[in-house]
Symmetry: C2
Subunit: 320 residues, 2 copies
């Protein structure tokens, strides 16, 4: 028996709007896998978005990010808030399954119905991932989650993506990162609202905090000046303070208009990615376009075209 996908989507939407967790999981899968109708789903739920507070969390491998996420989930829950976690894993074939292990530890909070955790691996397409993260966040937001925590390991550009997708960003470091504080400066000061030195019981922690505070102090007026905190996430030390600071910064951003301008650039990015995806489909995924591509590749091989003349002809052909 064949099912009508459009009918399926409408039934799924009804269940999603009724707050069914299994429908939430299914909608996310639709979006993640780009199943037929996923954009229609996103369009339908889009008006319900814009209420969740989005917190980004990034840091080097081994900084204790997962434990910290678990604590933040507990703190949000004890405030009576629902929370969605998106753990973005820019998988390296060299680091293998380590991050997956982290996710399993979080299963303690997974049984709570006010919590929803989703891990996403890049499988070789970091660029595409940023778009998908945004749309998975859209789904969790529309589902009514009060808080969204988007976590990623800071490699390549993933930490920049996370900062673009969050209202505020926490950068987690460990005392061992101390040696390289000077080299950290450029990238991280730009994205961090809060710099956390985790594992603060380890040697070098006070030095690291001081070095970070000095660095923050040197920032020019008007530049972002992150707050420096220290925590021991494993025994909850400093975590309530971190949570309070996250809330305080959100309120501040809310009253200064910073939140609005962040959301505006997020919408812009989102719109661009949706258009880019459509154009990619249009240009390369129809059978006619594949034939055209093949033809030009052969001409380039035969030295009758270069990629640059071929490009011009493809654009002309599309009326661009």
């Amino acid at each position: 028996m064949k099912t009508n996908p459009r009918e399926d989507i409408s039934a799924l939407l009804t269940r999603f709007r009724n707050g069914e967790r299994r429908a939430l999981a299914k909608v996310i899968s639709h979006v993640e896998d780009h199943r037929p109708g996923f954009e229609e789903l996103l369009h339908e739920i889009y008006p319900q978005t814009g209420k969740a507070r989005r917190i980004g969390l990034t840091g080097p491998p081994g900084a204790g990010k997962s434990t910290m996420v678990e604590r933040l989930v507990e703190l949000a829950r004890s405030d009576g808030e629902t929370i969605g976690v998106i753990a973005v894993d820019p998988t390296s074939p060299f680091s293998g399954g380590a991050l997956l292990g982290d996710r399993v530890r979080m299963s303690r909070v997974q049984t709570d119905s006010g919590v929803f955790i989703r891990s996403m691996a890049t499988r070789g397409s970091l660029g595409g991932l940023a778009g998908t993260t945004e749309e998975v966040a859209t789904v969790l937001d529309a589902f009514g989650m009060d808080v969204l925590l988007i976590e990623t390991v800071g490699v390549g550009q993933s930490e920049l993506d996370i900062a673009q997708q969050a209202d505020e960003t926490i950068v987690v470091l460990v005392p061992e990162s101390g040696d390289s504080v000077q080299t950290l400066k450029a990238g991280l000061m730009e994205i961090a609202d809060i710099l956390v030195v985790n594992k603060a019981d380890r040697q070098g922690s006070p030095d690291m905090v001081r070095a970070l505070e000095d660095m923050v102090g040197l920032r020019k007026p008007g530049d972002r000046k992150p707050v420096v905190l220290n925590t021991i996430a494993t025994n909850n030390t400093g975590m309530p303070e971190l949570w309070a600071e996250i809330r305080r910064i959100y309120d501040e951003l809310s009253s200064t208009g910073g939140l609005l301008s962040k959301r505006r650039s997020r919408i812009q990015l989102h719109l661009k990615k949706v258009v880019d995806r459509q154009i990619q489909n249009l240009l390369w995924n129809s059978s006619g376009s594949r034939e055209m591509l093949e033809m030009f590749v052969k001409k380039i091989e035969a030295e009758e075209e270069t990629p640059y003349t071929a490009c011009r002809k493809i654009m002309n052909h599309r009326g661009l």
Copy 2:
């Protein structure tokens, strides 16, 4: 006094074709920075490409890739070949300047006029980097380099990009990677022509080699079966054997048609990236398009559109 950029480009091309190293460096900068006329430059030199043998080299941080590159450069030079090195650094703000240090060590070979080394950092755009690497390789190829060595740290998708851009790929591991051999399997077996266990004087090296050989042995018929070698790059142990193997594999690919099909997919990828770049420019970088984007962002904010309806309208407007 104003200079005519078109005239500049033609003069630059003449010097480039005369084999001037400073012109080579300048052409690469043009391409890397996307300066006006860079695509014209690439179009002009494109017919001179297709002769260089492209070798990709990737591995985790600390595997000794830079030392290995230095040895391979020396081996190529002692065969009388010219060699260009592109070191792609998917910079993480957490790992800071470490990779730059590696580059300085290579200065010993930098003074040789048959060698050209270029480091490229991503600065937050891994996706864009793959396209730029290809075009910088195009420049070095057109300049007449016999061998191109493209090196990158294996994080995110960088090791997949490198495999697409090379005729053959070397994956460098160290004995310490041993624990995770099982988890390495998926990504690396697909891209490696040669698996090298470097720092073979360290404990665990024979076990690691054996584990890798077992894994290779389990590959299905028709699947790629990488060669496993071990080296101590610091004292040149195993390096001449690695170089010989690189040459042997190239000859094999050359006679089986593997080389042709790799080059064909590279051309395809290159062409797609050139077209994508043009479309990005067309869609988002003209003043009219920026206004349109602004307008739709406001409508999405006001809940009059969603990114999905706005996308349809932008595409319609462009006749797509």
